[in-house]
């Protein structure tokens, strides 16, 4: 009897989350696909002009913008995050490790608007001083996102490193390898699928981030030609214009969401592929 009740409860909970995903998909596609059809898929995806006042909706600059910003975040965040994870997992003593770990957890808990604020007050002025332009730029967005992906990358990569069997590390030591060599040549390669998963999750985190990016990226709907120029991501495109958009403009923004959704789906698929490969070996 009791068990029956629990089953119903869990079932209902599972149903709600599944239903939520289904509804989001339905909403996105029902509203986005007609708009895409009206604009014409090639014009929508590969058009380089975004000019709602003239009913021209090409989101190519935003697709490129999202990719650039995410790539920048990965270039900055991956080496930093991985080295931190390796340090936490294999080098840090108990006190330093727990201090750093709570720092990382805190980093994960900071609201993105605060990151944006930090970027606006510190990173943007610094870039304005040192480089051409107004500071609101691809570089600023990449730096802020590079910091924001750290908790994801560090946590997932550290878990992967912690899970590497002790026998690998000891086997390397027993051959006369130093601690450093054993870690970097045996333990880290053994954790490679978990590390790849960490990077992919970091990409997912970066591509979906909105608020912080809007605040520091400049948001010009043009493909940037240098890292000091402004850039607009897909997420920024939606949030900046959704408030006043109507008709086809509104449809085009939702269709931007569809494209973003497809990107995230691809990232999820990649993540699962990596995870499955890791589990098989």
């Amino acid at each position: 009897m009791k068990e029956g009740l629990a089953r119903v409860l869990f079932g209902a909970a599972a149903l709600i989350s599944t239903l939520a995903v289904a509804l989001i998909c339905l909403f996105l596609f029902a509203n986005g696909i007609p708009a895409m059809a009206q604009i014409g898929l090639p014009d929508f995806l590969f058009g380089t002009t975004w000019k709602p006042s003239a009913d021209i909706y090409g989101i190519f600059p935003m697709i490129v913008g999202s990719i650039y910003v995410t790539a920048g975040a990965i270039i900055i965040g991956v080496p930093t995050g991985l080295l931190t994870a390796i340090f936490l997992s294999r080098f840090a003593g108990g006190r330093i490790s727990s201090l750093l770990r709570s720092g990382v957890e805190l980093l994960a808990g900071i609201p993105s608007v605060v990151y944006g604020f930090f970027g606006l007050m510190l990173v943007v002025p610094l870039i304005r001083e040192l480089a051409p332009g107004r500071g609101l730029s691809l570089l600023a967005a990449a730096i802020i996102l590079g910091i924001m992906v750290l908790p994801t990358i560090i946590t997932v990569a550290k878990n992967a490193l912690d899970a590497v069997p002790k026998a690998y590390y000891e086997g390397a030591l027993a051959l006369g390898a130093t601690h450093e060599r054993s870690v970097f040549r045996v333990v880290v390669p053994a954790a490679i699928s978990g590390i790849m998963a960490a990077i992919v999750l970091g990409v997912g985190r970066a591509i979906g981030e909105t608020m912080a990016v809007v605040m520091v990226a400049g948001n010009q709907a043009v493909i940037p030609t240098s890292i000091f120029e402004g850039v607009r991501t897909m997420t920024a495109n939606i949030v900046l214009e959704m408030g006043y958009a109507a008709d086809l403009h509104r449809g085009a923004l939702i269709a931007t969401g569809v494209v973003l959704f497809v990107f995230v789906l691809l990232i999820c698929a990649l993540f699962n592929a990596i995870k499955n490969r890791g589990e098989r070996s």
Partner: protein, 282 residues
């Protein structure tokens, strides 16, 4: 015996140093055969747990020494003391003397060079999750061999020495994790041989294996002792009898008796040894 140890310790305290102490110990036993490694008056604690109690033992060069005794008596601990893998246990305390070629293994030899000279094969096969080739090449690369042809040569020779070259020569680039348990263990032996160690420690290295793989490894050990000093822990009395030249019997952290394998099995001096050996046989 105990007196000899006491005298050894006295000699150590005095000016003579390790060499003289060893010579004294050997003379005491009327045993002049070169010993590659020795432990003298070894006491080992894990925290407050006294695991090895005043153990003294010589490991003769180019011979196989078997360590036998019931589970938990400290055999693995002794092996790990010989290549300092016990350093990894945070509250492990080692007192007494461990020597390699008459040098103090804990003070005169840097730990990584000790571990290169004293190779270890673990109970569970632990090939790295990389190719067969890279497994064997790991050690030489660690110690500075970069030349491709030279590495190829070392890998082939080590796999030949481990009697598995023909089995794997066509799949050197395949993952080592795809090998069978017995092959993995022989790969681990090849990996250990590739750094050209002087001493090889085998910790129940056949206990996880099927009889055929076990026989192959036993045969291999018989070959290896031509060039290496082998120290093996085994639970299998017949295995000790088949492959070892010298046997040491341990009980509750004490070395009860050591001597030529035949003597230990046929005419043990200590009744506890006799009981153990007899019990294990029948």
């Amino acid at each position: 015996m105990l007196e000899a140890v006491a005298r050894t310790r006295d000699a150590l305290m005095g000016a003579g140093g390790v060499e003289e102490a060893l010579r004294g110990l050997r003379a005491e036993r009327g045993q002049e055969s070169a010993s590659k490694m020795s432990v003298i008056g070894l006491d080992l604690h894990y925290g407050s747990f006294h695991v090895l109690k005043d153990v003294s033992l010589d490991f003769p060069e180019r011979q196989v020494t078997a360590l036998i005794g019931p589970s938990g008596c400290g055999k693995s601990t002794l092996l790990k003391t010989l290549d300092r893998m016990n350093d990894l246990v945070p509250d492990c305390r080692v007192e007494g003397l461990v020597t390699l070629d008459g040098q103090n293994a804990y003070e005169d030899i840097p730990v990584n060079s000790l571990r290169r000279r004293v190779g270890m094969v673990f109970q569970q096969p632990n090939p790295f999750p990389m190719s067969i080739y890279d497994n064997v090449a790991f050690g030489p690369r660690t110690h500075g061999v970069q030349d491709r042809a030279q590495l190829d040569g070392i890998v082939e020779q080590s796999l030949r020495d481990a009697a598995m070259w023909d089995e794997v020569k066509d799949r050197l680039r395949k993952s080592a994790l795809g090998l069978s348990g017995g092959q993995q263990q022989r790969l681990c032996i090849a990996r250990a041989l590739a750094v050209k160690p002087e001493v090889l420690l085998l910790d129940e290295s056949t206990s996880a294996l099927d009889p055929i793989s076990t026989a192959k490894i036993e045969e291999l050990v018989g070959e290896l002792k031509r060039s290496y000093t082998v120290i093996m822990v085994t639970h299998n009395m017949l295995q000790a009898l088949r492959v070892s030249d010298k046997t040491a019997f341990f009980l509750l952290g004490e070395m009860v008796e050591a001597g030529p394998t035949e003597d230990i099995f046929t005419e043990p001096v200590d009744p506890r040894t006799a009981d153990y050996v007899a019990g294990r046989f029948g």
